[in-house]
Symmetry: C2
Subunit: 234 residues, 2 copies
DNA sequence: AAAAGTTTAAAGTCTACACAAAATGGAAAC
DNA sequence: GTTTCCATTTTGTGTAGACTTTAAACTTTT
């Protein structure tokens, strides 16, 4: 058959299903009709119903199990998607002018805590890069990063005076796995100086560990200026 | 035709495409072969290629435009998905015993800042609920919440001594729009007392605004105990 | 009962094909 | 040269049908 204007699309089905959940017609934990039945109800094929339900399950509204069927999740595991932009993009999205400055860069033996964190051998070298990201002349983010030399040998030739380590890494090394955390930390002396705030102030902090095929590549701490908030809508 | 063991699945295609991007065979910004060509290469139908590429685009690796084709995103807008669990689940996932305690609950005229924040009329009533979430006897989260009475009239009969306002709301107001922020704040006197930490300590803080069909429902501030971090892997 | 094996219902995925919608790039009109 | 319009390409989505995989539910054996 052909796809006409009156066709029920997978979008319509998603909408209808959500509406029924919202209205309470389909209670949490209850079982939905199976795909075949819904296909009949919506007069479309099972394929179309499948796509709608699959996407709703991806989005955290439904739980699907073969043979068991599809049920409404009681505590919708609604997952917030935070887009993690590069600092440059974030600043420019705010309408500001991005400016980058290298603070220090040095290769040395990996400190113990980093070995533990990244499962490095105690004799492995890391390049330690500290840098600042500005919005115009206002500090935006202070970055403290370690790059595993064995995993990215080219790093010894990188010029972090002109390009930020994150941008350089993205261009240079593909990565496969990322662990990203956010927390609140106290401003120590250097953070306070770089971000222009009193020692002890709360600082919104991100930590990112990146691996390539199981090899640890880099560990970064990102300290955000006062007032920063990470926001998402869903 | 039939689906045999040697069939190329959309998963295989996703893997292969990712590998080619990672290896640099398909450079950032470059155009991929079109779906038909890839279907021939992988000896499967265009439908299967379409699903693989569509998902990769959803995941932020590719950009697809009709007629223009599919290209590799230069700065992969990889979005971190944080699952925002209910406090009870979070504590129990840590192997702890969840305990809830109501601190205070009162209905009053919405304060000015809240009217501004939620676009309320100045004479609207809100129920202000403060409560604690414990892991065993350790403070886990201090919650400060306002619920718009006009949007959820039943709230006046809710018994927040026995059930947390969040769990109550999820049961009562099934589905909503959410704006969620995270930031670092300073512990004031009451936060410090409830979370058992010194005044001025950094506190990882979540703020959530919830709407139902455009109507503001609730505003919540969630203050996490010392050491809390929100983590995701991808 | 408890464990092991079997049936079977439901989702998962693929094929093959068709038409729809968007947007690019070029042709035509100005 | 610039704008408008149109043909064409590429992705988007639907139909119809079949086979596959999982795991719940049932049956048999111990």
């Amino acid at each position: 058959m052909t796809q006409s204007n009156e066709t029920t699309s997978y979008r319509d089905i998603k909408e209808t299903v959500l509406a029924r959940i919202r209205s309470g017609q389909w209670q949490p934990d209850s079982l939905l009709p199976n795909e075949q039945e819904l296909a009949v109800e919506f007069s479309c094929t099972r394929t179309t119903v499948n796509r709608a339900l699959r996407e709703l399950a991806d989005e955290g509204f439904l739980e699907r199990r073969r043979k068991a069927g599809t049920r409404v999740l009681s505590a919708p595991q609604r997952q917030a998607r935070f887009t993690i932009p590069m600092v440059r993009d974030e600043v420019e999205a705010l309408g500001g002018t991005y400016r980058y400055a290298l603070v220090s860069s040095a290769t040395k033996r990996a400190p113990d805590w980093l070995c533990a964190r990244l499962a490095l051998k105690p004799d492995q070298d890391v390049m330690h890069v500290r840098c600042m990201h500005f919005n115009g002349n206002t500090p935006f983010q202070y970055e403290n990063r370690w790059i595993v030399v064995d995993s990215v040998p080219q790093v010894v030739n990188a010029d972090f005076a002109s390009i930020g380590p994150n941008e350089w890494l993205i261009q240079t090394v593909p990565f496969t796995n990322v662990e990203l955390s956010f927390l609140a930390s106290r401003a120590d002396e250097s953070m306070a100086a770089f971000l222009d705030l009193p020692i002890g102030e709360p600082v919104f902090t991100g930590e990112r560990i990146t691996w390539l095929e199981g090899q640890p590549v880099t560990f970064a701490k990102m300290y955000f200026a006062a007032g920063y908030r990470m926001t998402t809508q869903y």
